[in-house]
């Protein structure tokens, strides 16, 4: 359908650049996203009334709002308030905030699935609440939330494509530009679909190996 040279000279480099940008977006967003998730989850479970309610509001807002709207607010809206974000920064911020809300739900579920006795034992040793959460609760909760967290990262991989809507030339954007120029939409986007499928499988594989690495006996039942 398309000559190999054409592919090699023109298409491949552009798509590679796009893929690279996609990977950059993902890598930059993962840690902030999970951190926000942890913070919000801990705030909801262990915070006082004010913090707990604020966390709930955060979750309601960022789960109820489409990512696209959020990205537009960050990139097109903020400038009217004098805040000019680089498109990549706006994208990462959007992914982190939105994804963070979803992550917090997974992590909160995991925290609440841990037996109450764990906290009591930690406190009875003299650990402060903060330390108890840090060294006893979270290590267990995060392991339990791993499937959910990875699921969310899979979504991150896919929704990174929306960064194109705020002018970041990641994979989908690069594809649209080339496809539009040479009218080879089907070809290009089939390729692109394949790349995303690969990226998603990579995430799943990493998740599986993390689950194995950080498993401890008794994790499913939470001990006896």
């Amino acid at each position: 359908m398309v000559e190999f040279d054409f592919f090699r000279e023109i298409i491949f480099p552009k798509l590679m650049e796009g893929t690279l940008m996609t990977i950059v977006l993902i890598v930059l967003s993962v840690i902030p996203q999970v951190l926000i998730g942890i913070l919000i989850a801990v705030g909801r479970v262990y915070g006082n009334k004010v913090i707990s309610r604020l966390s709930l509001v955060y979750v309601v807002f960022f789960r109820g709002t489409p990512l696209l709207v959020l990205l537009f607010i960050l990139y097109y809206g903020l400038p009217t308030l004098g805040i000019y974000l680089h498109p990549i920064l706006a994208a990462v911020a959007g992914f982190a905030m939105c994804g963070g809300a979803y992550q917090s739900e997974y992590i909160r579920g995991a925290i609440q699935s841990i037996k109450a006795g764990q906290m009591r034992a930690a406190l009875s040793l003299g650990l402060t609440r903060t330390r108890a959460v840090l060294f006893v609760i979270l290590p267990q909760a995060l392991r339990r939330a791993l499937p959910g967290i990875s699921n969310e990262i899979t979504y991150l991989v896919k929704y990174s494509s929306l960064a194109f809507m705020i002018t970041v030339i990641e994979l989908t954007g690069a594809g649209k530009i080339i496809a539009g120029r040479y009218f080879i939409y089907t070809y290009i986007f089939t390729l692109i679909a394949a790349v995303y499928l690969v990226l998603v499988s990579v995430v799943t594989r990493v998740q599986k190996s993390l689950e194995v690495r950080y498993r401890y006996p008794g994790i499913e039942s939470g001990g006896r």
Partner: protein
Amino acid sequence: MEDIFELLVRAVPFLLQGTGVTMSLVIGSLLIGFFLGVPMAIGEVYGGKTIARIIGIYVWFFRGVPILVLLFLFYFGLFNLIGLNLPAFLSGMIVLGLRSTAYQSQVFRGSIQSLGRGQMMAAESLGLTRTGAIIHVILPQALRLSIPGWSNEYCILLKDTAITYAIGVMEIMTRGNFIATTSYRPMPIFLTCAVIFIILTYGGIHLLHVLERSVRIPGYDERTKEAIY
């Protein structure tokens, strides 16, 4: 502040028309997903290895590829290839519907499998055919069990409709963007869009809760607590 208020007053009706479009997209896609997803789930559970494998590939594809890519692929690519000249709205609904099929089929599959073999065995031992058993015994239960999964799918679909902006569907996002760019006041407009989506999301969740409660079977509770999705 005043002119923002004026702006909003003029903008809201326009946005609400977009809401109509958005909700049509959501409901249309959900229905497509439902009427394709249920048979697909049944096929996957009862249809044998080959069918299950094919369905598996379908699901893997439509769950792994981003919506934006799917939209571009179908609207600009495949439909043209076939010679189909569908308007953006319909294209969007079809794509979202196909993707929803993939997710919903997994939800239903999970529900069906969580029922266990016992139900089917009992039905068949009474003399019901496979089909009859599925219709009269399995489905009524599995459908109820899937309502939470439906709730989830509704939320996701609702937000994904905003992405159809990229192919020009005149839903909330597109209209919002139009007003924002012509009035140079993106913040209040986009925030209003966000609020509209939030209301639609939680309103829908609430309705689905009501639905769930109205079809609840007394005493059935605890086994339905299993996370199905």
